[in-house]
Subunit: 217 residues, 2 copies
Amino acid sequence: MKSQKSHSKMYLEIVSELRNLIQEENIKTGGKLPSERVLAERMQVGRSTIREALRSLELLGLIETRRGEGTFLADFQQNQFVDVLSGFILQQPTSIHDVRKTREIHEVAAIQAICRQPALQQQPVWNSFLMKIEQNMRIKRIHLVREMIVATGNRLSLKIWMLLTQYSQVPYSEEMTIDEQGIVKDFLTALVAGDEKQALHNYFSWTERVEGERGEE
Amino acid sequence: MKSQKSHSKMYLEIVSELRNLIQEENIKTGGKLPSERVLAERMQVGRSTIREALRSLELLGLIETRRGEGTFLADFQQNQFVDVLSGFILQQPTSIHDVRKTREIHEVAAIQAICRQPALQQQPVWNSFLMKIEQNMRIKRIHLVREMIVATGNRLSLKIWMLLTQYSQVPYSEEMTIDEQGIVKDFLTALVAGDEKQALHNYFSWTERVEGERGEE
DNA sequence: ATGCAGGAGTGGTCAGACCACTTGCGTGTA
DNA sequence: TACACGCAAGTGGTCTGACCACTCCTGCAT
């Protein structure tokens, strides 16, 4: 585990480890996680690394930390559903394929929603993305997709999507080729025009290019 | 600033400070932020606190860190996502409307998946539902929809859908009218035939009838 | 039995130290 | 002069140990 420092970020590895731990120890929603110091020792990493992992989980609402008490799997107070779902995603061993497919479900739904609502097509954000492409600036898939889901106004969908994104760790920072720029440009053009069929076609082309067949990981 | 130890989390304060700094220094998209050590000194906090703030911004995709080079600003400016962020972090309660819409997303995705895969259309379960209608037996919407999502083979989608269903408590156990039977029958027929457009149309008719007003799109 | 004080445990934060990596400058060589 | 190499500085990534503030619980004194 410590040998993997070369590739992915350590704190993301820890997130994975935490998921296993929660499952193995069968920690229920609202249950208490081991303390940061115990986690650090058990996973053979420094406490600060543990904290960075916990911080990201906290931001997503997956856990709740209470000073002097401990760290808990998301509680039921408000926002019940997401907390339950969070615990669910953290606890269940889920196949990478299902995660990807489910993420895709939400992304496709956002595209369809935008293509069917002119008000969403007219938002300035799409032109801003188009302009960036004209200027040869890199666009990250995750940023564009996120804006699309934000545009739909469905915060729950956004939250689920973000959870899944973090889970599957799609390769972010690939360089964008000329071909890819063309695809994204066509995609955005179709999106703004409300051409659902064309938009989806371009979306899948882009997805395939970015994520490729590297589903094994 | 250091006096704000009282309630809000420090690293969230830092996030706020960072936004000010970016604005004041007029750092453009893709531009470089001061190093962690400089930020720590300038904001009078420890480097680890800075890192926790940066880590959460990185998770949200607002910055990008490259080892040995520095921390760079992603697109912060006119992104709508930033506006949503506050509510996101504050764990606003999820609206019933969002729950319903999200559930619909998964249901529609299942219908589309089935209509595009003949293998799924040929499963005997659909005919068994049709036969029950012929025999005037009640079909609960929840049962049929669940079978559809099961058929897609995406267990994660199924889990999410079940949570949403449990949460939103749609009135499922209504008696089925003659009209409704017709709609469901048409729906299943279209589904088995792979007629996506017709299936969705019937699905929405059914949903509207069972749940009341249908989402405008 | 009740109330209080203190210890143990926990998250929050800081400081300093390495390591791994990138960059760029300068030096030495062909 | 031109090129290649190597070293130093700067940066993010991580670890360690320390202290603080807070919560909880236990045991002692009343």
